[in-house]
Homo-oligomer: 86 residues x 2
């Protein structure tokens, strides 16, 4: 594996794991009011399409990162529904 | 351009433009308290690395989407600094 591939994997790791601090914050504060449900929904659909695209082009990294990102996104959507009382 | 490439472009469009509703919400409510700064920071670094990776592998879509996503992310970081009074 060359350095460029490693860079791509690190980039995918960060843009996937970036959602973890938001999950931790949501759990801790039990507040999700300021987090946009439109953002969660669009990102979720996008990640799902990335995953399908990854399956079609047979790219394991694309499938892998987007499957994890989609799971984290679903957790955020559940937190949003649970903690956004309006 | 085949249908799979179109699907990939649509996926990139959604995971990039997904941040727009959060920007609109932040501007409207002037509240960013519940949005995790750790998330914005990790995603920002990740998008920057994706962009560098795109330049290295000479992939215009990777450069293009991540440049836009990074710009939107910077807007969110500014909103977060502006509206998060603690």
């Amino acid at each position: 594996m060359d350095n460029w591939t490693l860079l791509g994997l690190l980039a995918g790791f960060l843009t996937t794991m970036g959602f973890v601090p938001q999950i931790v914050k949501g759990f801790k504060t039990k507040k999700m009011e300021d987090v946009s449900s439109g953002m969660l929904l669009l990102l979720g659909i996008g990640m799902f399409l990335w995953m399908v695209y990854g399956i079609l082009i047979d790219s394991l990294p694309v499938i892998f990162w987007n499957a994890i990102a989609l799971s984290l996104n679903v957790v955020l959507i559940v937190l949003k529904m649970k903690y956004h009382h309006t």
